[in-house]
Symmetry: C2
Subunit: 586 residues, 2 copies
Amino acid sequence: MASYTPPVADIAFLLEEVFDFDDLMQALPGYEDVNAELAVSVLDEGGKFCAGVLEPLNRPGDEEGCRLENGLVSTPKGIAEAYKAFVEAGWAGLSGDPEYGGQGLPRAVQILLDEMLSSANLSFGLFPGLTRGAAEAIAHHASPELKATYLPKMISGEWTGAMALTEASAGTDLGLLTTKAEPVGDGSYRIKGTKIFISSGDQDFGGNIVHLILARLPDAPKGVKGISLFLAPKFLLREDGSLGARNGMSVGALEHKMGIHAQPTCVMNYDGAIGWLVGEPGRGLNAMFTMMNAERLFVGIQGLGIAEAATQKATGYARERLQGRSPDGSRGPVAIIEHPDVRKMLLTGRSISDACRALAIWTAMQMDISARHPDAAVRREADELVALLTPVVKAAFTDFGFETAVTSQQVFGGHGYIREWGMEQFVRDARITQIYEGTNGVQAMDLVSRKLPMADGAVASRFFSIIRHDLQAAAQTPAARAIAEASEQALGRLERTTQSLLAARDEPTAAGAAATDYLRLFALVSCGWMWARMAEKAAVGDTPLHRRKLAAARFFAERVLPQAIGLEAALANGPGSLMELEADLF
Amino acid sequence: MASYTPPVADIAFLLEEVFDFDDLMQALPGYEDVNAELAVSVLDEGGKFCAGVLEPLNRPGDEEGCRLENGLVSTPKGIAEAYKAFVEAGWAGLSGDPEYGGQGLPRAVQILLDEMLSSANLSFGLFPGLTRGAAEAIAHHASPELKATYLPKMISGEWTGAMALTEASAGTDLGLLTTKAEPVGDGSYRIKGTKIFISSGDQDFGGNIVHLILARLPDAPKGVKGISLFLAPKFLLREDGSLGARNGMSVGALEHKMGIHAQPTCVMNYDGAIGWLVGEPGRGLNAMFTMMNAERLFVGIQGLGIAEAATQKATGYARERLQGRSPDGSRGPVAIIEHPDVRKMLLTGRSISDACRALAIWTAMQMDISARHPDAAVRREADELVALLTPVVKAAFTDFGFETAVTSQQVFGGHGYIREWGMEQFVRDARITQIYEGTNGVQAMDLVSRKLPMADGAVASRFFSIIRHDLQAAAQTPAARAIAEASEQALGRLERTTQSLLAARDEPTAAGAAATDYLRLFALVSCGWMWARMAEKAAVGDTPLHRRKLAAARFFAERVLPQAIGLEAALANGPGSLMELEADLF
């Protein structure tokens, strides 16, 4: 059976041919030494680690799962050793701030490592991913002392991080949370409460675990304005910075989950854990969103990673499995990749994965611009585009990732349902990405009710103008004309729908009723845009890779993008059909 | 948490108000005593058994799974007792031939029991479902001696049945199978080979297990023409009909599966098992298809069962879970059923489940007509419609069932990913229905390459005429006009696409490239037709049920049916984009 091959050639095509990566890096202070050649070479090494060390642990880790015995969490065989090797090789600090020992590579490189981690072992990838998110929140909001104490070891990966938000009755609605933080008097707090669904809440890698916990100060107002953010380590630190006594927290249980079995998702009891405020009192949600936004992009990338890995395995199987006769009946048994419907399944996965990777890089480049560009106006514009695209990347990539896992499993027929082949694990693992870090429904609401109205719709308009400009340029290349024109038509549908939504801002149910379908329409247009850009460059070359890109672009234009027509029509019907029925009649 | 409520009121609405069930039964010799009142009363009792006995075993059975120890299969705690109670209550023989002790109720009643079985416990439902399929193949093709020996105990449910088709290298392509049958000389055969994925291949209920096995006679030609069907019981029978020695078969392993863990899916080794020919030599596939067609409808019903159960649980949760503020911001926390996007998820499931149930009943009524109507021409026409609809019911209902399970799981947010809530089990269980009894891709190929061309397209045309007639009638009722008109537009799309496909019959890849999208378009139109018929009748009443039907019909027309526009557009692009890329460039 085909094993995972890191898509380094596809990455090189994107960085070297499609995007002006080298020019961009030149324009960003601190990244002058970064270029596509360096990035590809780093990612080639990273890919070897993912394919060689992490992927072989993926299925055994799913079978074995995590255990909680006598209050101690054990991860499956090999995971702790792999994590140590990952840290020793320096992968944890790839994009970390050099001030704290990181290697300072741009986000556009980080997300490509994240993709490969997610392809190889989604459960594993959450450990460094959550640590990075927690470190970002600390870097942006914590005191200099907390930063100096915690960031170096988090950025090296020696210590891991966890985000403790959700409670049994407070999920999407964090305003309902009840965990308390009482001031001790020496600047620290005692935190009491129970959190659920805490990824990486504990591990057996050694080192410390830095918990960022949302809790309420005494007399805090109800709702989200009463929420503050606290940092509490698993082990309190001695004066010399070494690990001291256990802090007042324990793992109440491991959640019994559909998938990501090698990831210890914990019920965490904070029983008077000592912690320190991160950011200002009552501004916890704000600080947490620094982490959440980075995590949401990371979760989107997880969807891409699963889509890529599942498509690869299905393609390998379809080349080897002999069943049935060729379409013209002349030969048989033939490899099932000769059957049109199997090709349709494979091309669906391929056309989704490649487009999502391109859009992920484009978005990450905007993050790099927003962080480093010398011109404040350019930084702000990039930051707005990232804000606009964050819910789209999170929700659409994970929906596509799950759908691609399901389709790829289908290529295997009955064997796809059997655990040994690994395809059903992709489906179970991918499913969480649509749910955590804000369900995809919450992402869609974020897009329509907070992001679209930014600057009265001007941010979305600017994004659509960028797309139209690129599509009109791509249409000048004959081999890219069809995908460019199909995408421009779809863009028109998106723009008309956007205008209707903005015009209906006063109708309280209009946004919510449109949200999910609108986000999908937005994502399809964005993927079509990326295909037009890829086709434009692929038309220049004639390698197998270039031909594959052109074929996938055509497939996307002809067989995937037409969904946009139905979505526009459904959205034009408005919220009425959702709202008329009384709740007790459902 | 809400438990499963058998949809008896919805069934009564369909049988009593939407379909002329009583009139039809009057016209079918042998069913004169059957009417809607009787059917509803029987199904009300059956539903109590499903909800009271089988549903409570569903999650424990998933957790415990089946075991194979010392060659003996154990089903999870309670399953064997439940099976015995099921048989004792007479449910196994509900639609069985009275000549062999069955109760002789029509198929239209049987499938509604099957739906409730599937809602309550999919793993359990396979035991009686496969037994019935095997009994039908025996009834149609076996010798009078085999029928007399095996049918009474299979129809009572005392003995169960299994279908042994698939081998490791022969799945969709049964022509590749290698299991052998050697004549002993006394009319019996010795069967040697290994079969995989054998549902109900063994159990611990006591009684016998009747295996129907596809195998090759010596010197049989290669391919499907060399395949014959054999009956081999787990226990050979003594002269007096009691169970004697073990036959030469054993369970090699239990498959490790994504779901249906309470169902022992076996690797079966036939080591010289004594068996008897069913039907003529070389006509095994023909005999097996008698079983397969019945099973395919049953599998479609399984998809419906999961959709109904998952929608019910999601609806119950959405009424109870408090999160977030009302759309106008005035109240909070509110039950999440107030959020438009949650309503969209619930209505998607509801509009799919109700339409599929209606279409299932309509199809089953055609089966009853084809079996019993006094006029041979009427029987033949009904049989053709069943042949046309079989792949649609199998594939579309199971795709809808899986999608509805996923959407309903999403309503639960993070809790949906946790095993205790039972929603992820629906997803894992539903997934097999898209794969077994011919993958949904195979169903789609059956529709476009065998069923559409029947009588040069005349069967499909006749079906479309029936739909148009009903839609035009429904459009006379104001409350049904919108769904009727939307469905008629979608019907136009289906008819145009059908014409294009029939015109392209000489292009070898046209059918395969269209198959999956075409089947979905076909199913959406069929569901729209059913909604128009339901809305027409719902408009007459003003009960909560009638209002729910009208609201779901509107939702289906406005938010689901528009998919048909995109499907027509995608299909109009033809097979080119699927076929241009060489297999080694994927």
